[in-house]
């Protein structure tokens, strides 16, 4: 490339950088460094005039290296790479220096030291930039299909959007039916829509869509490959019913004599050993639960087999595995409720009349264990007094620190359930704060709060005790009025905290995506890229990214689908710029690089009578493990060669002269 000609640009970022250090002094310092042809400072380097400034300089001064000292490269590296590209330079001749996140935002109390640090970082970048070179990006075709993991409202919405855009979708759901938590709800806030009435048409759309294949009662067991070309292994759990023969008539489920606790009712009601999750199940194909089936437990019965008009029962079914090839993956595995038995002072699991909000949904639902009547579980009597406890486990250092984001609105809705079922009942709402933030939530809150015999108490209950008649007694300090109240309630409803699903951790590791302190999937950026992950081609939909109510979940899922559609319709993926590259003259073919490669991207091949390492540009993800292992320096990593890193390290260790 001949002579190195560097341009250095120091951004003020308004007062973010310029309010702490003097960017002109840093630019002046930079102008004297080796091979620096031009050095400038500017108010907003990322603005159009800022970008134009660089572009013109590249042309005027014939620059072949550009250093921008500004915010984190995680923010604007692509912006400035675009400037280089526009000016006809290879974008990897850009070097960014992070003087905002790493300097002025954290050292504003010591501005002199901050400026010194900024200068040193610029110096190291100049030393490193001497060794930058052009990088070629390889382009590869993408498989135009997507996997959606989880068939709740998030997965349903994402699958439909993808399918409508002409993309083949595989929807994997671990339960018998898609529908998720939303199917278990009786009504939705703040409109009081019947939850299933708005959900089930979408479920039917999914089932009928020519571009969607549902794998219910299945789970993802292995993910390999990479963005644009994932290989996914799915386990189809044995249902003991041949779904290809079954017509969903339901005769078997009516006649089965064995009963089991019904998961769909949160353990309150019962179902048969051969069952659908709920009447509107999609797919409408039953499964046999071997834990309760009389044939599996006692070797008798087989009534379903005898009665099935199409001979679909198959007691010998085993696990089956299928392999899918998809370009993108949408993770929509949703949430679970925090285990309420951990809140021992509330006596959940010990006292029959202490239930969760989701159990109240089941009591209120016509398909629930009480056919929609809200009663005390101990004796089936109508409750005269109901206490609704918010933040049960949420916003609590001992349990879950974050807010569940739907407990408040759900509690307000639950007032309605109680008052609708038992109009004369007294309702106490024990809250920490009422966060009625969504559209129409505040109005909903005001409407329900104004009802007769509804009392809002700002405080959490102390220990709950059970009276002989099954009612519950507790004290609560109302911090609004400064009074200690003693309450006797027939039913206590806990608006539970929300956590990621139990089996999420293993899936997360298969997908190689990070998690936040609560265990939820970590998004690429909390504000700007909340539905993407650090793994290319893997997107997040709904509560697996963090607790969400239905409107937010649907918006999030649609956004994830749009991002996936964008990714898939580009038609090709680009190889990582940070590829491993071999200097074949130095390579001895020892194979150490291949042994440390986590992606199986390096092969040792015979060529011209000797062994040489060859890198697969599709598989290489650019970690650089091979380069760190190579004993002869033959294996290098683009943009992070030994020379590039060492020149930076050396400059930082020695300080700017």
């Amino acid at each position: 490339m001949g002579e190195v000609r560097i341009g250095v640009y120091i951004c003020h970022c308004g007062k973010n950088i310029g309010g702490v250090i003097n960017p002109s002094r840093v630019a002046e310092f930079a102008s004297k460094l080796p091979n620096v042809v031009v050095a400038r400072d500017y108010m907003y380097m990322c603005s159009s005039p800022g970008q134009m400034l660089i572009e013109e300089d590249i042309k005027r001064h014939n620059l072949n290296r550009v250093i921008v000292a500004a915010c984190s490269p995680r923010m604007h590296e692509p912006t400035f790479q675009g400037v280089l590209k526009k000016a006809g330079l290879n974008p990897w001749l850009l070097e960014m220096v992070n003087i905002r996140e790493h300097v002025t935002w954290v050292h504003e109390d010591v501005p002199d030291k901050a400026e010194e640090k900024a200068k040193e970082l610029v110096y190291a970048a100049v030393m490193r930039a001497q060794h930058l070179y052009e990088i070629t990006i390889h382009r590869l075709p993408v498989v135009k299909s997507a996997l959606v993991i989880g068939g709740g409202i998030a997965g349903i919405r994402a699958a439909l959007d993808l399918a409508n855009a002409g993309i083949k979708v595989y929807l994997v759901e671990k339960k018998q039916s898609i529908g998720g938590k939303m199917a278990q709800l009786d009504k939705t806030f703040p409109t009081l829509d019947c939850s299933k009435c708005i959900l089930t048409p979408l479920m039917v759309d999914v089932a009928r869509h020519p571009n969607i294949t549902i794998y219910a009662y299945s789970e993802v067991v292995d993910v390999s490959g990479s963005a644009g070309d994932f290989k996914v292994k799915v386990r189809l759990k044995p249902t003991y019913v041949d779904w290809s023969k079954c017509t969903g008539c339901g005769y078997c489920t009516e006649r089965c004599p064995a009963r089991a606790p019904r998961e769909f009712d949160e353990g309150l009601g019962t179902r048969k050993a051969i069952y659908f999750d709920f009447p509107q199940a999609v797919p409408r194909r039953p499964v046999i639960d071997p834990k309760y089936c009389l044939w599996f437990t006692k070797g008798i019965c087989r009534a379903c087999e005898k009665l099935c008009p199409v001979g679909a029962i198959d007691f010998n079914q085993k696990d089956r595995y299928i392999e899918l090839n998809v370009g993108a993956i949408i993770v929509a595995t949703g949430y679970e409720l925090y285990d309420m038995t951990k809140l021992r002072e509330y006596g959940y699991g010990k006292y029959k009349n202490v239930i969760t909000g989701l159990q109240l949904e089941r009591l209120s639902d016509a398909d629930g264990p009480t056919k929609g009547k809200i009663v005390r579980l101990s004796d089936g009597k109508e409750p005269e007094t109901v206490a609704i406890v918010l933040c049960a486990g949420s916003r609590d250092e001992k349990h879950v620190r974050y807010c569940c984001r739907f407990g408040c609105a759900a509690a307000i809705k639950h007032i309605y359930y109680v008052k609708h079922s038992v109009p004369e009942a007294k309702v106490f709402v024990l809250y920490t704060d009422i966060r009625a933030f969504g559209k129409g939530y505040e109005e909903f809150y005001q409407r329900l709060r104004g009802m007769d015999d509804v009392y809002f108490i700002r405080g959490r209950p102390a220990e709950i005790f059970e009276a002989k008649d099954g009612s519950l007694i507790f004290d609560v300090f109302d911090s609004n009025t400064g009074q200690l109240l003693s309450i006797k309630a027939d039913l206590v409803v806990l608006e539970s905290a929300v956590v990621p699903p139990k089996d999420w951790e293993s899936l997360r590791r298969m997908l190689k995506i990070s998690c936040d302190p609560g265990g939820f999937a970590l998004e690429l950026h909390p504000k700007l890229r909340p539905f993407e992950t650090t793994a290319d081609g893997i997107f997040l939909a709904g509560a697996i990214q963090g607790p969400k109510d239905i409107p937010d979940t649907v918006a999030h899922a649609a956004a994830a689908a749009a991002a996936a559609i964008g990714f898939l319709s580009k038609g090709e993926v680009e190889s990582t710029p940070y590829l491993a590259v071999v200097n074949e003259d130095l390579c001895s073919g020892c194979g150490l690089c291949a042994s440390v490669c986590p992606f199986d991207a390096i092969e040792i091949k015979e060529e011209g009578g000797r062994r040489i390492a060859k890198v697969n540009v599709i598989r290489c993800k650019g970690c650089g493990a091979c380069a760190a292992t190579c004993p002869s320096g033959a294996m290098q990593q683009n943009y992070f060669t030994d020379t590039q890193i060492v020149s930076e390290v050396s400059a930082l260790a020695g300080g700017a002269k």
């Binding site: 010194e116 190689k512 990070s514 936040d516 890193i645 050396s650 260790a653």
Partner: protein, 141 residues
């Protein structure tokens, strides 16, 4: 006693977890000592032991290697490789009396506060140890 000793510390940070965590400390305006200088690598598994030694020889008083928590590596197993290399490197450093100068820490992308604590602790630790002066020693011969 003259001025307070301000150690010079080189930090290797992986792009996906630690660099993002360090950025988060910035975004959240969590203060920590200015002495740390960050070198970005895509994965902590890229850090060759010679790079660590080079930093010490060229004037750093301490080196911090940071990566994703075990099990969280963006490249599946890079941080395990880092850990194994680090343990071997420590054996060598022990012989040279430099064991206390190098540390490996896991910082996730959401741990801006933890990064600030790790940086503060390490700077104080190196400050107590005093300057390394390996560069002067080496150039004096």
């Amino acid at each position: 006693m003259g001025e307070r000793f301000e150690p010079r510390i080189v930090v290797f940070a992986c792009n996906w977890c630690s660099y993002a965590g360090i950025d988060l400390a910035g975004v959240s305006r969590i203060k920590y000592p200015h002495n740390v200088r960050i070198v970005k690598v895509m994965c902590s598994g890229r850090v060759h032991p010679e790079m660590v030694l080079k930093a010490l020889v060229d004037g750093a008083d301490g080196v911090l290697i940071t990566g994703c928590h075990p099990g969280d590596c963006h490249y599946i197993s890079g941080n395990y490789k880092t850990m194994r290399r680090y343990l071997l490197l420590r054996k060598l450093l022990r012989q040279l009396g430099l064991e206390e100068r190098v540390r490996l820490e896991w910082i996730s992308a959401s741990e801006g506060d933890r990064w600030a604590k790790v940086a503060t602790d390490f700077v104080e630790h190196i400050r107590r140890l005093g300057p390394l002066r390996l560069k002067e020693v080496m150039s004096a011969e």
